[in-house]
Structures are given as structure tokens and as C-alpha cells.
Amino acid sequence: MNLLLQDPFAVLKEFPERLVATLRSPLQATCVAYAPGGEYLACGTAQGAVVVYARDTQRPVQVLGQGAGAGPCHVRPVQSLAWSRDGRRLLSCGQDGLLLVWDLAAAARDPGQGQDRGPEAHVQFDAPVWGACWVEGAGSDGSWCIAASVYERGSAVLLSRDSEGTVHQSPLDADLSATEEDQGYVLVCVAHPVHRDVVVTGSSRGYINFFRCGQRAGEGAGAGADGAVSLLHGSRPTTSNIKHIAIAPSGERLAINSSDRSIRQMAITWENENVALSLEHKYQDVINRLQWNDVQFSSHGGDYLVASPHGSSAHDLYLWETAGGSLVRVLEGADEELMGLDWSFRAMTIAATGLESGDVYEWGLAVQPKWSALAPDFEEIEENIDYREHEDEFDVTSSAQERRATERAARREGEPIDLVTTDERDVRGNEVVQGFVIPLDYAACVARGV
């Protein structure tokens, strides 16, 4: 709504332009993830806690783990975070082999309701968890399905929670990997933004696979447990480690960050159940030959791609335009190497974590105040102009003009008005959703006051 009243040229920029905020805390952030609505920013920290910031106050609304509460939490750095689509649950994976699911509605519940304040579910693996994604968000019965990539495992792990709260584990590609050649270990798994039950995995030997995890319809044990996984696509775009996979929100573009110092941008074509990938561009730092720490697309079709370069001398984010593959912007302002990053499409901001300090840097749009809004018959001009009074400027307005104005006003009074219906999309074309509101922890504010 505020965007409708802003200067369109200031608002309709396609990527953030300048550093607008730095979040500092005693905990060192290792990874960041924006809530689907962009109102919150979750930071995983080296100490194991997950801090959720409200973007409007730039202050934490929730600190998950390492506080007062019950149940397990991370004691080693958080490796990755993922928000559920409705913004109510947060998934965190740690180097201590814990995968935790936090229900943000319960986390701030008042004590004295017979509920522990720990995570909703936890899975302990015997080795670090690299990453995880939501395959299916929580249904009304509290069931969900998650795919995770775990240290030295040839297959991603599918975790599904049934309505009783039991979590079932199964390998994602139990019968497929046996027949194929050695693909190495699965390092990355991401969910497809459009085909929501499709998981894309990347392996240590450069293989990329698309799996459809099947419908859960009627299956008590959840997706995948009955072997309803099918391989849609498998290829080997590179021979080295796949470190990250980013998919544009439209689901038509994919970027692979691998340890051979390049980011491959590929188009995804989807024909029935056949998926094909074709290379569009390859991004490399030709001068410094840097690796890339993280990579992320912009909104919609992924018209822009942002990446953080590896190495102590690189302090900026690089932003490319994906149609032509040219570098359009270097986002400056941080004075250290940047690690994990995320792009919020609704808030039009990019957040990245600093390697040394653990601060979180945020780039955004700085919209200048419009002084003419204070008095609408004033006009902002670039430079002084010699004003010439019109012949009839201070004449008493002609009755015809006045009549027309009255008529117009009268017509407006008769037009139907709609006080209730909201717009489906904001001015940037993002779908407007009422994001989940994290309940405020009033008990914490009482405890602080005493």
C-alpha cells in the first residue's frame, strides 16, 4: 500500500542498491533466511542459537535455543535455515548433526500452558547436516515432510512426520542410486518453488537430480515412505562439488555454484514429467579466480543473480543480469568477506553475513522523502525556473470551470466503492499474502523488567 503512494521511479527498481542496515549481536551469524513475507529475518549463529529479527524494529523477536526452554538445541554452528511456506515453522540444521523444526507459534507461548518451549521436532543424525528443505509444509494435523542432506550420505534423507508426531526417515532415492554409477555424496537439496513436491539434489561429484516425492494423499506414513519417489531428471553439469543450487521463484531458471570457481546458470524446461536443463551462462571471476560462497536469484523469473565471492580480499556482492549475463552492480559497504546471503523479494532487500564479525549486512532501496507530499499544490523542481504569471492566473475562476469540478465531484460520489477487497499483487508483482505473525514473548519483557 505504501508503495502505491511512493514515487514509482524510486520504488520500481529491480534490485537493492545500497547498504541500509547492519545487524550486530554478540552471536555470530553464519546463515540468513528471510521469512516468506519479508517481515522477519532469521539468522543461524555460530553458537547454535537461531535469532529471528523483526525487520521493522531491527530487533530480535525470538531467540530459538540456548535460552530458557526445554528440549534439544544446537551446540555447534547452524549450517542452514529454511522457512516453511506459511512462515510459521523454521527448519535449522547444525554441524552437530541436529535437524530441528521450530513452531514459532509455540515458541512464545506463555509458560504455564503445559507446553515445553523447545523445538516441535528434532532428528539427531550421527554426522553434520549440510542443509534441508521443506517438501511439504505442515498440514492442519501437524504433519510435514522434509528432505535433508547429511554428511557422507549418497542420498538425501526424506523425513516425514505423521499426524501422531512420529518422524519417519527414508532415503530419497533408495532404489535409484544403486543402479547408477557412483555419484558421490549428496551435498545440497532444495525444493522446487513451483512444483512443490520436487526436490533437486546436487552431489559431490557434480551430479544434479530432480526427484518427485509423490502425493501424500491417504498415506499415513507421509511422502516417500512407500517409495513413491520418481526421478525426473539426472545429469552431470560439472565434475566438481556442487555447493549450492538456487532456483528462481518462477521455477524456470537454476544456478549451480560448484567448487570449480564458477556459477552455471541453466534454463529448466518442463515437459510433462521430463525435465531438461540447458546452460545459459557461466559466471566466473576471471581476474581473481575466486570461488563463490553463496548464490541467490531475484524475484519472479530470476532476472538478476547475486553471489558472494570467497576470499579475504573480496568484500562485495556481485549482481548479474541473467538475460545477457553481464555484471550490473557491485554491492559495497561491508568491510569483510561475506558468506551466506538471501534476497527478500517483497522487502526488496539482500542480507549477507560477515565472515569475521558475524554481523548481518542488509542492502535495500533508500527512498527519499517527497516534500511535495506535504502540500500537494507544491511541485518539486530540479532547478530554479523563471516563473511567468499566466494571463488569467488570478482571475476569479470561471463558472464553467467551477461547474465542471462540482460535476466531477458529484460523479465520484455516485461511483461504487470497494472498501474490503485487497489487491492480489503488490506493485512489484509479488503475491500479497498475510504472513504468519510471530506472537510476542511478553513473559520475556516482564522478566527483563524485574
Binding site: 523477536v61 502540500a375 460520489e413
Partner: protein
């Protein structure tokens, strides 16, 4: 038609009139908060019985009260220049927010309930962090007391303010920049000077703004185009001393039936509430509270309407869509 459901009694010693200033219905419609001196009465809307009394830390009377969107807290604006936040059910007083230099007049939460906006006689609007009680921003863009502020219930990116300087401004609630000024045209000045604005209220979709001025006229503004789309006035022209309250009503209808058109209600200084169909501008009801004193607050929730008169009578009404 609005029909009276109950008239909760405001306790006061005999022979005096209780000094109440507002009656606000809670987000779930179950309770109504009425500030009385430095206390806040929580009244059940079902039967009008007193549920509990909250003690605040204010040293002067309370001029406005506002429920947090989660229904857990009430914020109070006081003449002692401070704002209080009190947890209704468990924790009692949470914060007292100092910073205004004159009595605080109006309050509003954002939709997530983590920011509180307050406006004051000191001509400024302040934004507070609800969790730790710190001041985030001060917006100064009026030249007279800011008597009313409002944020849309669904989209808290904008803030509307109405001031005695006759201006209605819309701000970006995050940056504090003014986005638009609505009253700045020929009707800005009447024959006897500026018409002070007394109350503003966003429509549910935030695209329209209901504005009442002290001449008793209620207008619906189109926020985007910046023009008036409805003018609702009673026959006699008034020069109000009090705002006399006004609100949108979105009557709850049977989910299967077509949705009912929204209404506008507005009070006057003789104990009457007028109710219009906002589409046709037809006056649907002229409700008489039975007390010939000014109405000072009207607040609606679904089909429920709470009305408070200057001499401390509170009444709760329910809208029933009768065959007309």
C-alpha cells in the same frame, strides 16, 4: 438495524459522572475496554458485566485505549504525557513510554503488534517498540494537536493522521516520510477558518479513509487518487466540541449469503448515532441512545458497536440485517 444488547454499568460514586473517554472492543469481540480515570475496565460484551479492572501506572486521566492485535495487552494514552502498555491477562503493567511533551491523544498498533504508534497534543507522532519499550521514531508533520491516528488492520505500511490544523496526512509507517496530504483543496477552509479534523479510520483494504471533522461531516476519501468519494452529513450543521465518534461497520453475514455492504456510523452531541449505507449514502438508522449528552466514542467489531457518552454511559449494540 442496530438493537441494544446491553448497557454495562460504569462504577462511580453517586452524584458524580465517571470520566471515561473511549470504549474499545477487543480483537476477538469478547471484551470491551473502557478507561476510567487511571484504571481500565474490561467488560464482557456478552452481558455487559465487569470482567476485571486493570490498574495502570498513569498519574492523570486516560484519553485513549487500544487493544493489541493479539488481544493480550491494552495500550493507554494519558494526559500525564506518557503511554502505558498493560498485559490484561497475566503480567499486568509492562511498560510506560515517556517522550511526548504534551498529553497523548490517540494510539494504534501495527498489524503484527510489535510497534505502537501514539499521537499527541505536542503535534508529533511517535513510534515505539512494544517488546522493549523504546522509542523508534518521531514524526513531526502537523502544526496543531494530532487528535487521531490509524493504521490499516491488514497492511501496516501506511499511517493516517488527522490534526486540528485541518490536514489529513498519510505516512509511510516504516520511514516516517509523508506520502500524501489529503485536505488541501478548496474545502480546506470554510468561512470561519480551518475545519479541524477529529478522527480518521482506514477501510479494511486500506484504500479508503473515513474522516470526520469538527463540523460533524463524515467523508470517505480515496487515498490513492486523493479525492472525496462520499460525503455524509446530517441535516443540521454542527460545531462539535468532541469528535463524537465514527467508524466503519462490516456486518457479519451468513457465509452462503452475499456479503452485506459496509456501513458508516457517526455520533452527534445530542446522544444520537447516525448510520448510513456507504454505497448509496442512504441514512438507514437514526439511533437515539436516550441520553441527551454528546457521544464521545464509537468502536465497531463485526456487527458489534460500542457507544460511550460523555456522562459515562456505555451501550453495546448489535447490527441485524432486517428486511427493509
Amino acid at each position: 438495524m442496530f438493537t441494544l444488547t446491553c448497557s454495562p454499568e460504569v462504577p462511580h460514586s453517586a452524584g458524580t459522572t465517571p470520566s471515561c473517554s473511549a470504549a474499545k472492543v477487543s480483537p476477538n469481540g469478547q471484551f470491551c475496554a473502557i478507561p476510567l480515570d487511571t484504571r481500565v475496565l474490561i467488560i464482557e460484551t456478552q452481558n455487559g458485566s465487569l470482567h476485571k479492572t486493570l490498574q495502570t501506572q498513569h498519574t492523570s486521566g486516560i484519553s485513549d485505549v487500544c487493544w493489541s492485535p493479539d488481544g493480550q495487552c491494552v495500550a493507554t494514552a494519558s494526559d500525564d504525557c506518557s503511554v502505558g502498555i498493560t498485559h490484561v491477562w497475566l503480567y499486568g503493567p509492562l511498560h510506560r513510554l515517556f517522550g511526548h511533551t504534551a498529553p497523548v491523544l490517540s494510539l494504534c498498533y501495527n498489524s503484527r503488534g510489535n510497534l505502537l504508534f501514539s499521537s499527541s497534543m505536542d503535534e508529533s507522532i511517535k513510534i515505539w517498540d512494544v517488546l522493549n519499550g523504546s522509542l523508534i521514531k518521531t514524526i513531526s508533520a502537523h502544526s496543531d494537536p494530532v487528535v487521531s491516528i490509524d493504521l490499516p488492520a491488514l497492511d501496516s505500511s501506511v499511517l493516517a493522521s488527522g490534526s486540528y490544523d485541518g490536514l489529513i496526512r498519510i505516512f509511510d509507517s516504516h520511514t516516517g516520510h509523508c506520502l500524501k496530504t489529503l485536505t488541501y483543496d478548496k474545502d480546506w477552509k470554510s468561512e470561519d477558518g480551518v475545519v479541524p479534523i477529529s478522527q480518521v479510520k482506514f477501510s479494511r483494504n486500506a484504500k479508503f479513509l473515513l474522516v470526520k471533522s469538527l463540523d460533524g461531516v463524515v467523508k470517505v476519501w480515496d487515498c490513492i487518487r486523493g479525492d472525496v468519494v462520499r460525503t455524509l452529513r446530517t441535516e443540521e450543521t454542527a460545531h462539535l466540541t468532541y469528535s463524537c465518534g465514527m467508524d466503519f461497520v462490516y456486518p457479519e453475514s451468513d457465509p452462503s449469503a452475499p456479503p452485506l455492504t459496509p456501513l458508516v456510523v457517526s455520533g452527534d452531541e445530542h446522544g444520537k448515532v447516525f448510520c448510513w449505507d456507504v454505497q448509496t449514502k442512504k441514512l438507514l438508522q437514526e439511533l437515539d441512545t436516550g441520553f441527551a449528552t454528546p457521544i464521545i466514542s464509537i468502536d465497531c467489531h463485526g456487527s458489534l458497536m460500542s457507544v460511550l457518552t460523555l456522562d459515562g454511559h456505555c451501550q453495546l449494540y448489535k447490527w441485524e440485517h432486517g428486511p427493509q
